[in-house]
């Protein structure tokens, strides 16, 4: 090869000579540069947080139609599914408070309540959530539950005797009862008939759509968490330590059913066939129509999460609590867990 180059003549030869003497110096210089100045930087792929994360707690759920599901939870999180829970989309909210409950008038209009008296409304299916003013107490303001009824009426209840009412789809709120040192945990209306339950086993009822409320004697001193009526006459309320109260006279008198669990019960509903209540450690209690017979058990033997609410979705249920879950034909699917 060198012979070949020699034959090429002086010019090429000096170019080759120059390259062969400069190249090593370049390489050495490059090594030195690399040693002193080049630092490897780690490459890290960016990570997209899932819509529903493991730590998310969902305290309130609502199903405005068989397909559309809505859930509200910790740190101002609201998610919605339009395909019966297969996929969920995160909705932006202007708050970071824990949200306790959600209620919907229809697929577009809904209201959410939560800690520190936060009330959020939407009129476009949750594309925009707006914080609205509601009366607040000087003492404490956690709102526990909200329920929506026809003509834009909704009731919200909570700490320090908060009972708030709206008639315009949540735009404005007024106090329906005076503040007092006792929290209301749930409110439920059928037509003009209505009931509220709360701390110290307190129960009140209305016959005029909430214009006036009368206290009813309660057989319990411990907190009642939830109340539900299947018609204007037959209702059930559940509470701490597995308490179950049954009424067959529109809530004027209540009798306590034998307890089938020691766990707190947080929510009870009539699913069309039977009463279903859920609570701590995955318990589920079911009762026959007249509330005379109750049986305890679990939502699923593999799951011991606490639940705050359940709603009927088609043939199954959507459950809120330590996690968001769908129960379909005895199969529990926890959303957002692998």
């Amino acid at each position: 090869m060198l012979d070949a180059i020699t034959r090429l003549g002086g010019g090429v030869r000096s170019v080759v000579a120059l390259t062969t003497s400069a190249l090593p110096l370049l390489i050495i210089g490059g090594l030195f540069y690399a040693a002193v100045f080049v630092k490897a930087e780690p490459m890290v792929a960016s990570l997209q947080a899932p819509t529903i994360e493991r730590r998310d707690v969902f305290l309130g759920v609502v199903a405005p139609s068989a397909d559309v599901l809505w859930a509200a939870g910790s740190y101002g999180k609201i998610v919605r599914s339009e395909d019966r829970g297969r996929t969920w989309a995160l909705q932006q909210t202007p708050v970071a408070e824990h949200l306790q409950a959600i209620a919907a008038w229809d697929l577009q209009r809904a209201v959410v309540v939560g800690n520190r008296g936060v009330v959020l409304v939407t009129s476009n299916g949750g594309k925009d959530w707006r914080e609205v003013d509601a009366p607040r107490s000087e003492v404490a303001n956690k709102l526990m539950q909200v329920r929506a009824y026809g003509n834009g009426v909704a009731w919200a209840v909570g700490e320090v005797g908060a009972v708030l009412k709206t008639r315009d789809y949540g735009m404005s709120w007024s106090r329906a009862l005076e503040e007092k040192d006792q929290a209301w945990n749930d409110v439920f209306l059928i037509g003009d008939h209505g009931w509220m339950v709360g701390e110290f086993g307190r129960i009140v009822t209305t016959r005029d759509g909430g214009e006036s409320w009368q206290a009813v004697e309660s057989p319990l001193k411990s907190s009642l968490m939830s109340v539900h009526f299947r018609d204007a006459v037959n209702g059930v309320s559940v509470g701490l330590s597995g308490a179950i109260l049954v009424t067959a006279d529109g809530g004027m008198t209540w009798r306590e059913a034998p307890r089938v669990t020691r766990e707190h019960l947080n929510c009870v509903i009539w699913d069309g066939v039977q009463w279903v209540a859920v609570g701590d450690k995955g318990v589920r209690v079911v009762g026959v129509a007249d509330g005379s017979r109750w049986t305890g058990g679990r939502v699923s033997e593999q799951d011991l999460s606490w639940r705050t609410q359940l709603v009927r979705v088609g043939e199954g249920f959507l459950l809120a609590g330590a996690n968001l879950a769908l129960l379909d034909q005895g199969q529990l699917e926890i959303i957002g867990r692998e």
Partner: protein, 794 residues
């Protein structure tokens, strides 16, 4: 070499050979002294040796490990086959293990946590306020009712249900932390393994994982390691005997390797270092270098004898005179390259680097001087030790090689190498820093340890921990709602990473207390709304609990706290992602009252190690190459020479890196010693062959003949060393320690590529490019040697 220098070297060699008895006696005496020290070298693993002391993560770990848990955590899982753990038999086993762990050497008795320890508590409201009492300490539940109560208490407690009792109630965890530096891993491992073995059975499986177990296992396999080492040595002897057919050809290389090993270990003891069983393979790498030097000398000696040297003394003299320069160069280059490794601020690497350099330097005496001196006694007539002669085969290979590189194929060799270099260089970028697979890469995937680790990480949130310190700027900072909420959001953010199984902090503790205060109402499982409220919750938790119970979460002044993250594995990518995410979160969401500090626990310190390795890898490779280039440049007084010898090293590095990337071997604290030292090796074969060509050209000007001749002598040495070493190093692949097996294969590849490039690529490049420093030029012709050299010593 200039004739003048040659003559001076000749005189020194004469002196050495004349006083050969004294030389041998001196070396023997030195070996005895060093052997005395070498016998006292401790073989053990010190985990803190693996950690870069000045790295901020390691400093945070050292500052807080006593409260928030260090990197020496052992997790023991008690798992039932049927039913759940809530039976008297199983709970009894948990208590037995927990109690017996207290007796294990080096355990931090305050950091043993299980259902049966004082640490796991139930917090409940009673008429006298909040009461917190141990779940199952000191007594086991007496009957089914109490078991049911315990079960309820566990289910109610998010600090237990999940972290210490699995979601399906089939398994429970016992964790114990060990004090750094004091723990003898082997003893601890054996004691824990005993405890576990006793508890095993009756439908209960006991599994364990953690760095102390891992390093204990490594030490446990030490006797096996020793057996493999001896077996390798035996194979080496047999192979050398088979090939050389002479006793001196077999024993002299081994004496060189042995003596330098004794010297190096003696020096290690004198420098106060110990030997890590994981890097024993490195010892083999260096010994390979000693053997190679010695074999080169012997090969040259035999060549001189064949060419009619009158006696063994003069043959020894000529062989040393010829090989002194390349030998020096090979050894010094290796030693300096190894010294570069000490730039990496990891104590283990610094120690290896110092020992390695000393070891390599000792070869100058033990091989370069001792071998020719001993050869001078060997005589020139030898009857072969056995009849089996494979010399024709070797010579055939060498002739083929010589024919190849002097024919047109030499271009193919160069082009082929260039292609291999480019392809492997690109593939080498897939090499990962940190462990590349879940479980421990030190052990095989189907080893008990790794299957245990997988099982524990399946049942629980993850057995590898990292704590991030939340350092408050004033006392009580941790009670601020903004701080606590910030911690919870941080945990949520981190848990989005799939490998993070969960996390725990004060922000998880207080909501649980709050809920208890509020009649157990789930809607109140949240942080207090004000500093005062949180202060009350903290007070309620602390009152009635023992001092120290809070330590895992925050100090008594609620100034500094920790967020502990549980990882399902400690792969390099997992750790990098986690640390990058912590940094990202901290910059995006500053909390005025506190600062988040990275990072303690095993994952934290491994993160530090990986950062050091990543930041330093380019630096150390570049410096090692620079050292190599400079050594060769000075020796041959030519810049081209430096670059010329860089080529085989680059090639063997890219190929080994590619192999590691392909096999999923990460560049971790365990593989780094071999990889880092390897940069300095692999050049010596090339030096012998190229220098052989150059020396031959002192006698005539036919480059082709010089190449053929050099391959016949130096090439023969290379072939013998490579054959014997590669074949014996393969024995390591039977090791129970995957790391040793892989490192063995890595070294074999290294030696093979170095040998191949020395025998094919380098001569081909000489033939094609004819670099001036080898073949000379019209302006700087090579001096022809004076013929007086071959005169026998009188």
């Amino acid at each position: 070499m200039k004739n003048a220098t040659f003559r001076m070297l000749g005189r020194v060699i004469d002196v050495l050979l004349r006083h050969r008895l004294i030389v041998v006696a001196a070396v023997a005496a030195m070996t005895c002294v060093m052997g005395f020290f070498a016998a006292q070298v401790e073989v053990k693993t010190v985990f803190s040796d693996l950690l870069p002391k000045n790295h901020p993560y390691v400093q945070i770990n050292d500052r807080f490990k006593h409260t928030f848990g260090g990197s020496n955590l052992v997790s023991i899982m008690v798992e039932v086959e049927d039913g759940d753990i809530f039976s008297l038999a199983t709970l009894g086993k948990v208590r037995k293990i927990t109690r017996e762990l207290q007796q294990v050497e080096g355990v931090d008795t305050y950091q043993i946590v299980s259902l049966a320890s004082k640490k796991l508590k139930e917090v409940r409201a009673s008429t006298e306020g909040i009461e917190s009492r141990p779940l199952m300490w000191p007594e086991l539940p007496r009957d089914q009712v109490e078991i049911q109560a315990l079960r309820d208490a566990v289910l109610n407690n998010p600090l237990v249900y999940g972290p210490y009792v699995s979601r399906d109630l089939k398994a429970t965890l016992i964790t114990a932390d060990f004090s750094d530096g004091e723990v003898d891993y082997l003893k601890a491992y054996r004691q824990i393994a005993d405890i576990a073995a006793q508890a095993q059975g009756d439908g209960v499986a006991v599994r364990m994982v953690g760095e102390p177990i891992l390093y204990g296992l490594v030490n446990h396999y030490l006797s096996e390691t020793l057996h493999i080492f001896l077996l390798t040595l035996g194979t080496l002897i047999l192979l050398l005997l088979l090939i050389t057919r002479t006793w001196y050809g077999t024993l002299l290389p081994l004496i060189s390797g042995g003596v330098s090993a004794v010297w190096a270990l003696g020096m290690a003891k004198l420098m106060g270092f110990h030997l890590d069983p994981l890097v024993i393979v490195v010892a083999f790498l260096i010994t390979a270098n000693a053997l190679s030097t010695s074999v080169q000398l012997i090969s040259r000696f035999e060549h001189e004898v064949e060419n009619g040297a009158p006696d063994s003394v003069s043959a020894a003299r000529v062989c040393l005179a010829h090989l002194f320069k390349p030998g020096m160069l090979a050894v010094l280059t290796g030693a300096f390259c190894v010294l570069v490794v000490s730039l990496t601020p990891i104590p283990l690497l610094e120690k290896i680097s110092y020992i390695g350099s000393v070891w390599l330097l000792s070869i100058l005496i033990t091989a370069l001087v001792l071998t020719p001196v001993m050869l001078s006694w060997c005589g020139v007539r030898h009857r072969p030790v056995h009849p089996l002669d494979i010399t024709p085969l070797l010579n055939g290979i060498l002739r083929l090689c010589a024919a190849l590189v002097t024919s047109r194929f030499r271009y193919a060799v160069i082009v082929g190498s260039a292609v291999v270099f480019v392809v492997s260089g690109m593939y080498a970028f897939n090499l990962k820093v940190g462990d590349a697979n879940p479980g421990s890469p030190i052990l095989w995937p189907d080893s008990t340890y790794n299957t245990d680790a997988a099982a524990i990480n399946r049942e629980f949130q993850g057995s590898d921990r990292m704590f991030v310190v939340v350092e408050g700027k004033r006392e009580g900072a941790l009670k601020e709602p903004a701080v606590l909420e910030g911690m919870e959001r941080f945990q949520k953010y981190m848990e989005a990473q799939p490998e993070v199984g969960g996390s725990i902090s004060l922000a998880d503790l207080l909501p649980a207390v709050n809920r208890v205060v509020r009649e157990g109402n789930a809607r109140y499982q949240e942080l207090g709304g004000s500093s005062n409220e949180n202060g009350e919750l903290v007070y309620m938790f602390v009152s009635g609990s023992d001092p120290g119970d809070m330590d895992r979460f925050a100090d008594a002044q609620t100034k500094n706290g920790a967020v502990t993250l549980f990882f399902r594995d400690h792969q390099g990518d997992t750790i990098r992602t986690a640390i990058a995410r912590v940094k990202e979160y901290v910059t995006r969401n500053p909390v005025p009252e506190v600062e988040l500090l990275l990072a303690g626990g095993l994952v934290g310190v491994l993160g530090a190690v990986n950062e050091i390795i990543l930041a330093g890898q380019i630096e150390s490779i570049a410096y090692a190459l620079l050292v190599l280039v400079v050594c060769c440049m000075l020796t041959y007084r030519s810049a081209v020479a430096g670059v010329f010898f860089m080529i085989p090293v680059l090639l063997s590095n890219t190929l080994t890196f590619s192999y590691m990337a392909w096999q999923g071997i990460g560049m971790s604290i365990n593989t780094l010693p071999v990889v880092a030292l390897g940069i300095g090796f692999g050049v010596d074969y090339s030096i012998y062959i190229v220098d052989g060509i150059r020396e031959e050209l002192h006698r005539h000007r036919d480059v082709g003949r010089a190449i053929a001749s050099s391959i016949a002598t130096a090439g023969k040495g290379v072939l013998i060393t490579a054959l014997t070493l590669v074949m014996s190093v393969v024995l390591w692949s039977f090791s129970s320690l995957r790391l040793q097996a892989e490192m063995g294969i890595l070294i074999a590849i290294w030696l093979f590529i170095s040998a191949a490039s020395a025998m094919f690529l380098m001569p081909a490049m000489v033939a094609v490019f004819r670099p001036e420093f080898i073949v000379g030029s019209r302006r700087h012709p090579i001096d022809l040697a004076a013929p007086a050299e071959m005169v026998p010593v009188s």
